[in-house]
Amino acid sequence: MFSLLQIAVRNVLRNKRRTFITLAALLIGVTVMVSIRGTLNGLQRSLLQNVVKGQTGALQVHRAGFLKNVLSSPLSLDMPQDAAFEAKLLGVKHVTAVAPRILFAGMVNVADQTIFLGVQAVDPLREFKVVPLRESTLEDKSQFASGKVADAMVVTDQLEKALRGANVPKDAPAAILAPDKDGALSGENVTLTGIMKLNMPGEKKVGMVRLDVAQKLLKMEGRATEYILAVDDIDNIEQVAADLRLALGKDYEVSTWEDVAAFVKQAMARQSFILSLVAAVFLILMLLGVANTMLMSVLDRTREIGTMMAVGVRRSKILGLFLMEAATIGALGGIIGGAMGTAIVLVLHARGISVTFPGSNVPFTIQPFVTPGYLLAVVSIAGFGALLFAVYPAWRASRLRPVEALAGG
């Protein structure tokens, strides 16, 4: 067995031209597979970061039933916004920061324009601790975040354009109108200080005000409708969710980013599925290439096979020899292709790829990466796949009759 492997490896290394032709197909296939997977890994990590650190936080806490009615932004399903409640949240292991929000639907009015919108009311400094990427989406963060303008409001540029119709002066006063907690229409003056960019697809007509403005408008002093939470490591998220549920009881619901931004998870699953499909096609094409060159090799080496049979090599050993040669080429292709793919991924990681998601106007950088597990899988698939696709050519070689093989087929 060992000597057969030695012979197989020696044949592969010495038949440079034949080996190169077979390897080329494998190398290209494996390199492309690793590069695409690496890029997708980077894309998905960025997507995740963008969501978790730019919008949803790792976890969210609401009153039970809130998410079911989220479209109506129910103010009745609220919770305390105070030190005692926050201490309870921060007391759970791995939770590093919390921030309160009120989500409500209302209207914004400038001059003669009144437009419906969704509003997020946040405590800027604490918000940016949980979702730090969000800070960069605010065009005028100093005024909004610092509190220099107490009634500051930022809106999306779509909304801004709609509000600032012809002849509306830049500093025209604005007001925000919404039904308060008791259902009575309420209004507050606001100052439009800037534009907020969206880093996720979804509703385009949204705005952001400071939490205290909303609490006053909605008569919800000391209350909030959601808390967003940051954790030290995203991998702990399920554990943290379970601990929070235990600490808060059945009056509250705890959601992970996956629950809140299900479409992101679906998108990631769809991307992975498409990649698997592309990879499978690539794999089959490259392995068909291997099978083809192995068949050519059997034809090319008919006399050699006859000689081996003449000196007493059994059919099973001929079969084994060709299979081992294929597996050796497969493993070589996997290892070298894996290394080449990794090199490409590392270069791309160092340089970064700048992209903007559809439905978002915040560009960000993808840093591709591959996991050792994936590399191992690719090398194994290349090796075993080459072995599998060499079964027929190897069988053909082993079934040759010595007399005919010696005569060159």
């Binding site: 000597s3 007493g312 090599v313 099973s316």
Partner: protein, 241 residues
């Protein structure tokens, strides 16, 4: 003592829809240590006969005993074992493995049967020296002349210490000087190692050295080989002394 005993060996092939009869009942006995030539025109069945004696093919009917053992009906793997242990081959086209160097080609039949590498290497070097290949041990076949390649094939045939060496037109692709050297080498090995040689050839020089010539025609053995044997014995004695 008889090494090869053939009785009533028949061989027929299916060529499309017609059946071609290559051997029509051959009886032949070859003693140990003989240096025998099989001769006959093209299509006479001599290569078929050598293939059957070499266990590369099986007879359709008849009995084949090698070293007293009936092997005519053994299966493919058993025959591979017999070829590996008892028979060496020298081919007209040398049939060396192109990616292996001289030493590796010579050792190949023993490597696949898992022999101890150190012992094998010693034996290989000795045989290589005997056939005059010492300066070319690490040359590849395509770096060697025809005569040198045939020496490699001879060394490969002998390294397994076989009882029988079959040579199918071994000098057909060589110039006359080289052919003479190869014939002399095989005679020397026959004498010194006591290995039985069986040739098929058209080459009159090989026949000159043969101690026995058997003739085959249309798949049957022709009579009258004794005279040739006596004649070749005389020539052989003259060559030796």
């Amino acid at each position: 003592m008889a090494l090869v005993q053939l009785q009533g060996i028949k061989k027929s092939y299916q060529l499309g829809k017609t059946e071609v009869v290559a051997l029509k009942g051959v009886d032949l006995t070859i003693d140990k240590g003989e240096f025998t030539v099989v001769m006959g025109p093209s299509g006479s069945g001599k290569t078929t006969l050598l293939n059957i004696i070499g266990c590369l093919d099986r007879a359709s009917a008849g009995s084949y005993k090698l070293d007293g053992e009936e092997i005519g009906h053994r299966d493919f793997n058993d025959l591979a074992e017999v070829r590996n242990r008892k028979i060496g081959f020298i081919f007209q086209n040398f049939n060396l493995i192109p990616v292996l160097d001289v030493v590796e080609n010579v050792e190949f039949p023993c490597v696949i049967r898992g022999e101890n590498r150190k012992v094998l290497r010693e034996r290989t070097l000795k045989i290589a020296a005997e056939v005059g290949l010492t300066p070319y041990l690490h040359h590849k076949p395509d770096e060697l002349s025809g005569g040198q390649r045939q020496r490699v094939a001879i060394a490969r045939a002998l390294v397994t210490e076989p009882q029988l060496v079959l040579a199918d037109e071994p000098t057909a692709n060589l110039d006359s000087t080289t052919a003479d050297q190869i014939i002399d080498l095989m005679l020397k090995l026959n004498r010194e190692h006591g290995v039985t040689f069986l040739f098929s050839t058209h080459d009159p020089r090989v026949m000159e050295h043969a101690r026995r010539v058997v003739r085959i025609h249309d798949g049957v053995m022709a009579d009258g080989t004794e005279a040739a044997k006596v004649e070749s014995d005389r020539l052989h004695a003259a060559a030796v002394h």
